[in-house]
């Protein structure tokens, strides 16, 4: 259950954003679509608790996240939210597997079997001991999905996961995300300006 009411945000009183209310039930996915500069990333950061909204409420799985302090928010995010960024980020000094182990350590959920399960499901098990900068672009994207879902989040937030991809790869990535979300019982919210994704989602909001 994800519910927002009257979220507003501004950067230094200069750029103002007002976001439509969102409400999705358990097992539902959502596509949020909008053009550049309309505050897509801001909304994603608000939902992830990386930014604090100036007014309104954000309720994730029964918890009002604007009431949490910085430390509680970090813990809540680690336990419940996985984020897939437009560009893949990793800790470069670590291998793929070590990155996943680090994520587990931070969320206090050590489970080596799960790492192998996820890597296998994403088809990159043989890359687990590679440094992340040795991966191909496609492998990097898979690895970053692995990083987002390794701690069994209830919500996966994806920021422009397909914007730089051709049609074929766009299709492949969004299917992969949806498959992983349902396989590991997570809800998926994708924020994008990419209209090609509309056909993959039953529910969508336009900013």
């Amino acid at each position: 259950m994800i519910k927002t009411r009257g979220i507003k945000f501004d950067y230094n009183n200069q750029v103002f954003f007002e976001f439509p209310d969102i409400e999705i039930k358990t097992k539902e996915n959502l596509l949020i679509i909008g053009n550049s500069g309309i505050g897509k990333t801001t909304l994603l950061h608000l939902l992830a608790g990386l930014l604090e909204s100036k007014s309104g409420s954000i309720e994730l799985f029964g918890k009002e996240i604007s009431n949490l302090n910085s430390y509680q928010l970090d813990t809540f995010r680690g336990e419940n939210i996985g984020i897939v960024f437009q560009r893949s980020h990793f800790v470069n000094s670590l291998t793929v597997k070590e990155n996943l182990e680090l994520a587990q350590f931070i969320a206090n959920k050590k489970d080596n079997n799960r790492i192998d399960t996820i890597l296998k499901s994403l088809g990159i098990l043989d890359k687990s001991d590679k440094k992340t900068n040795q991966l191909s672009q496609g492998e990097k994207q898979r690895a970053s999905i692995a990083l987002a879902i390794v701690n069994s989040p209830k919500l996966i937030l994806a920021d422009e996961p397909t914007s730089s991809l051709d049609d074929e790869n766009c299709d492949r990535v969004i299917k992969l995300l949806k498959k992983q979300a349902s396989e590991f019982n997570a809800q998926l919210i994708v924020i994008t300006h990419d209209n090609r994704l509309k056909k993959h989602f039953k529910k969508s909001i336009k900013l």
């Binding site: 950061h45 800790v91 680090l102 994520a103």
Partner: protein, 433 residues
């Protein structure tokens, strides 16, 4: 995986980033630790050899030279003094005990000392194999010498004149090894010890062919003749006539090189040496005073070098700060990622501090290692030129202080980067991509 392991992986994955700061720190710590070690080792070594010696009496010259030659056996003697003059001092009521020393010859660079039995007791040196020297030309050999030159009992040693190996050899006469000493961790380890008579005998034969002959006609000899009128000396005179050093006796008397003296009361250390220096043609020097003077001279150099080393450590801290600061900027996306995975601000700050501390503590350990290698190196140099060696693997108290300093440098250098990471705005960084 945990934060500490992550810090280590971060350092290892980009070794070039931290190598300069680390090298500077190793250099700084290494220099200070080496100076501390050498200072303490030389002091202990010097003090060890100083026990039981309140005053040294020898020929006029530099007091420091007298101490270095008579106590530490690392300098040339100032000259010789006559047995009569030495006797006079021995008979003074302030003198508790005394030991005669005769030196000026060597075997392969190791000094041969003619002395009394008491000499061994002074350094607590014990015979390991064989017996003490007794008859002329019997010698006992110090631990370092026999193990290094592979000398055994009953070996014959041919000595050379002077204190260098290159001196003229006393080919006519050789010494016989009758005893080997246990290691005593004092100067005795690097000496070959025999009776005074051996040295006298050796040089009587030797001096015949020498121009030394003329020297004995000098004013010194005139003094001797006057002395000879005394009864005491007369007896000795007769006695010596029966000895083989017939010729020597006609020209003068026996000489010794120096005399180690222990007072009856420590109070005498102030007055007695001055009396000797002012009223006789002998020189008296107080080892503890001369050595502390020597250390004061060294001290200035050591102090300068120490300040330089602290400066290097300071620069290493600054370099460490810059490299952490840059590395955090380079890795800002990584940091943001780790935060989105649920890490708290303080966990990231701890990671930065760990990275800094791992570097400074390994710098400290490597610095200590370097200083130990330095001690070995200096020791081998001293061994070569002075037949002296040092060794120690102890950690000094001051070195624990250096560990504290390294940790402090690590904390201070990482302070600003850690705060920077703590205050990082992850949303802004991630929106920036």
């Amino acid at each position: 995986m945990n934060i500490f392991k992550l810090s280590i992986k971060n350092i290892i994955s980009k070794p070039l980033n931290s190598i300069l700061s680390l090298a500077l720190l190793i250099l700084g710590i290494g220099i200070i630790s080496l100076l501390l070690q050498l200072n303490s080792l030389i002091k202990t070594q010097m003090d060890n050899n100083l026990k039981g010696i309140d005053m040294v009496v020898g020929a006029k010259g530099s007091p420091l030279q007298l101490i270095l030659s008579a106590v530490y056996h690392i300098d040339s003697p100032t000259g010789n003094i006559s047995v009569e003059d030495a006797e006079e001092i021995k008979n003074n009521r302030m003198v508790g005990s005394s030991i005669d020393l005769l030196y000026g010859d060597n075997y392969k660079g190791y000094r041969i000392v003619g002395t009394e039995d008491k000499f061994l007791d002074l350094y607590n040196a014990k015979i390991k194999d064989g017996k003490k020297w007794n008859a002329p030309f019997e010698v006992v050999v110090g631990a370092k010498i026999y193990s290094k030159l592979n000398i055994n009992l009953d070996d014959e040693l041919v000595s050379s004149h002077g204190l260098r190996e290159t001196g003229e050899s006393h080919v006519n006469q050789s010494f016989k090894v009758v005893g080997l000493l246990e290691p005593s961790n004092s100067v005795v380890d690097q000496l070959i010890i025999t009776s005074p008579q051996s040295i006298w005998d050796l040089h009587d034969e030797h001096d015949h062919d020498d121009e030394d002959h003329e020297e004995h006609h000098d004013d010194e000899d005139h003094d001797e003749h006057e002395h000879d009128h005394d009864d005491e000396d007369h007896d000795e005179h007769e006695h010596d006539h029966d000895d083989e050093d017939h010729d020597e006796h006609e020209h003068g008397d026996k000489e010794i090189t120096a005399m180690l003296i222990k007072f009856k009361s420590p109070m005498n250390i102030i007055q007695f040496p001055r009396q000797i220096n002012e009223n006789t043609n002998l020189q008296a020097a107080v080892p503890s005073y001369e050595i502390s003077r020597l250390f004061k001279l060294f001290g200035f150099g050591i102090e300068t070098l120490t300040y330089l080393a602290y400066l290097i450590i300071l620069v290493s801290g600054f370099s460490l700060f810059i490299n952490l600061f840059n590395s955090m900027r380079e890795r800002k996306y990584e940091m943001a990622l780790i935060r989105t995975l649920g890490a708290s601000r303080s966990q990231l700050s701890v990671m930065v501090i760990f990275e800094s501390l791992i570097l400074t503590i390994s710098g400290f350990l490597l610095g200590l290692l370097v200083s130990r290698l330095g001690v070995m190196f200096v020791s081998s140099l001293m061994e070569e030129s002075l037949n002296y060696s040092l060794s120690s693997l102890y950690i000094l108290n001051e070195e624990f202080w250096l560990l504290g300093l390294s940790i402090l440098i690590g904390l201070i250098s990482s302070l600003i980067p850690a705060i920077q990471v703590y205050k990082m705005n992850i949303s802004e960084i991630l929106a920036d991509e």
